[in-house]
Symmetry: none
Subunit: 190 residues, 4 copies
DNA sequence: CATGAATGAGGATTCATTCAT
DNA sequence: CATGAATGAATCCTCATTCAT
């Protein structure tokens, strides 16, 4: 008797996650180029070939991790869904962001390592990622508008840069004083 | 007539620079892993084998670029050499930094791409780099002390993070409003 | 209610044909090596594993196609079954042959592609095929004997070669003037 | 002291030939798909990687063999270079052709195996080969014109088909009566 | 010192075949 | 009987590095 469609679906969903998680961990720890498909398969407890039944290539695996990771991470932002951030929400937003940074360290390591490194993701994909982040940035611009900042766009760029900088320094320094820095960030931005 | 020792020395120094410059450019543009020794040799106009008479490996080549680049870039900092930055000097320092960022884009691209990417430089080397940057950071801490900031170390970390964030965003976005952002940075730090 | 034995048998025979037809089409169009079991299963609308309940391997599938195809094609030859071809019958035979060529293009493509290609069918099988064709050739030799040709065997080899040459050229050239060439063949052979 | 350019050139020309010859032999004997790069390298006495310094891929290696083989084989045709074949020359031409068939058995085996097999050479290349053979066919058409044949084009197609058929049958049957068949071919065509 | 031919370990990917369900 | 997930050997190709000249 063959497995039912539902059983197969479950297997696939679950194994897909195994692969993604293993790959994320290894990519983040060892780097994309330095991690081999064999590494990932071993870590995920599957045969090398099976990866190719879930992803067409190592590259697509990376892309899937990046995109789906982004979706997982952002799905809880802007609870009102009105696209407008109240100062209260901005605070929550930043707290949330810093929480996620802490919890999804591997994702963010991979994210920065890969976006700042030429020759890993192509331009098309880079633009796709930027497009995905666009609404977030727009929301923040509106927030600064509402706050009455001189040049809201510039302020957003500043905020974005600041947060990126905090992130990358935190990711590679286990003694980074994240909480205290967060207070400085909040003071500067909210 | 054989070349004199001095001539030979000059040739070596010059050819070494050719290799370093070619490698820097290619590493920055195509990424470290994606750039081959053949690429570099071709770009530098030398034979592949010759590279190995200047550097023992691709890895050592990268390390040399990183270290010597750092030295080139910082040799003009802190003109008084007293280790203390006056506010005036801090301004100059930041201006200088942003100038260098603009002029040595390739270096910084490589620097960030490589530091944030695991599996390229080993931990020993990472620590060496940090050690090299240490005096700079100390100077900045002292500056904030002199300025009477609450927590000078924290402020330095904040400054460092902010500047890193500005840098990486500038490096990958040709429309980045660097000058305007610089003003915001100065306002916040000086 | 379980299926009766006869129903099962019918299903098996029919599904077997589905597989053979799909494989024939794909082998002929894409080549034996380039066609995967997955391709065939998909085209036949069955699961990959099922193929192995009808054929022990990809190779055996190919052999079955070749042999059964031959039988299908030749079962109508020599209607008198006396092994002697009258000139009238020779004409019919050639006409028949050319008709079959037109109708079973896929089979012939596969046949030639596979016979002329080393490393696909083993020598044992090659000889089996030749053995199968033997009676046909003998019949033709007898025909030339009866016709009073000098060297009937040689004439058969000539005929065989000529027809093979016509076939392969026709199979790969959609503008091949098959009918006109057939007349030349008849003029030369009958 | 590095090798001189000329030395290198010699090495490359010679080694290229080694590779081509090994590949031709193996492709012809074992088939294109069944022959691995490792096989070829071993047979040619070189490391696997070296092949890729001479040919960009297995496919390009095959193409080179096919094209250069054709050139080697045809370079002596039509000695007058006037594009017109006298009956005397037609005789020589056919004799020549049959000689070549005998001497370059591997080439012809490969040629037929590969042209009649889908999925090995792409359509672009197939057309290139046909284009290369075009002048030959034109010459033969002119010959039949001069001879006063009814439909010279058709006669050329017939000749071409006949010769192809003779070739493939000879190539796979060591008892093929090539010389006697040649006489029949000459009788029919000249 | 300089060259580039040569090496071969290593890595991504494919696919016939097996087997648990 | 039927499914398709899983396996892993096999294959093409790359590239840092070596070395004869």
């Amino acid at each position: 008797m063959p497995r039912t469609k539902i059983q197969n679906e479950q297997i696939r969903v679950q194994k897909r996650m195994q692969i993604i998680n293993s790959a994320l961990e290894l990519f983040a720890q060892k780097g994309y180029h330095t991690t081999t498909i064999a590494d990932i398969a071993k870590h995920a407890g599957i045969a090398k070939g099976l990866m190719y039944s879930y992803f067409t290539s190592k590259e697509e695996l990376l892309h899937s991790i990046l995109i789906e990771g982004y979706e997982l991470i952002t799905e809880k932002f802007d609870p009102n869904h009105d696209g407008i951030l109240e100062p209260q929400e901005m605070l929550l937003f930043i707290n949330d962001l810093f929480d996620k940074l802490n919890n999804d360290r591997d994702y963010w390591r991979l994210y920065f390592s890969v976006t700042l490194q030429p020759g890993v993701i192509d331009d098309y994909f880079r633009k796709e990622m930027i497009k995905k982040y666009k609404p977030l940035f727009d929301m923040i611009i509106k927030y600064f508008e509402a706050k009455g900042v001189d040049d809201p766009y510039l302020e957003m760029v500043f905020a974005h840069s600041l947060i990126d900088g905090v992130f990358i320094n935190f990711l590679y320094d286990k003694d980074y004083p994240l909480d205290k820095i967060k207070q400085l960030v909040i003071k500067r931005l909210v």
